[in-house]
Chain length 116, copies 2
DNA sequence: AGACTATATTCCGCAAGAGGTATTTAGTTT
DNA sequence: AAACTAAATACCTCTTGCGGAATATAGTCT
């Protein structure tokens, strides 16, 4: 994958938030919805964008689609995700997302999307 | 500056090349032209894009406009430039740019744009 | 002042992407 | 099978950005 394609994926706020959350572990669309508080279609489309470019992977679990970062990300992707995680720690919006994700943790476990 | 705005600047191949070269030190437009081998208008417009967003600074030296990275880049910018430099080392196109820049080094010194 | 040089800007057409509404798909439950 | 659910896709409109041709600007040199 070319470096510029990674940056194309990172240059939208919603996608940044999605990827940032994924650094914490796999998540399904419904959880992105609760954390980002954005409409389903918006989230789905950005996940599709990331998926077609190989930045995330999906597996279906019943009705739920569980998104993850690739098992073996390229060096470039890994470096940039680390950088994102580092920088996000300083921007309130990202920290808020993380906080919401933590509060959601129990629900994530119960959800049909969670591996048993 | 918001993180996403940095990525907006990084999501174009020409701008990536420009910024990558600037990590080596200040340069004027004519040098970008010789290294990138792209038309002047294209380079100027991308530099303007970066300038208006604060990723580069300019000073005029006679007829030449000398571009640099900011003296005190934000933490986010610094981190991403470091990451870019690291990743670029693996992509041939960027390495070629660096090679061309080195061959150009004498010309850079002689050029009217160089500080005396 | 006039010619020249390096660079910036304007204007154009075009393509990509973002967001929304409506609809579809795929799986589950009863 | 019918109803239901989570998520994806299609279609639309609007905006942004890219690239190129032509032109403008600002400084230098004679």
């Amino acid at each position: 994958m070319e470096l510029v394609q990674i940056y194309e994926c990172l240059c939208d706020r919603t996608r940044l938030r999605l990827l940032h959350l994924l650094t914490q572990g796999p998540l399904c669309v419904c959880h992105f919805q609760s954390v980002l508080r954005e409409p389903q279609v918006k989230i789905s489309k950005h996940l599709a964008y990331l998926r077609t470019r190989g930045l995330v992977t999906v597996t279906r679990r019943g009705n739920w689609m569980v998104y993850s970062l690739p098992e073996k990300p390229s060096r470039e992707l890994a470096a940039n995700l680390a950088c994102l995680q580092d920088c996000a720690a300083e921007e309130p919006a990202f920290r808020q997302d993380l906080a919401r994700l933590k509060k959601l943790a129990p629900a994530v476990e119960e959800c049909g999307c969670a591996p048993k």
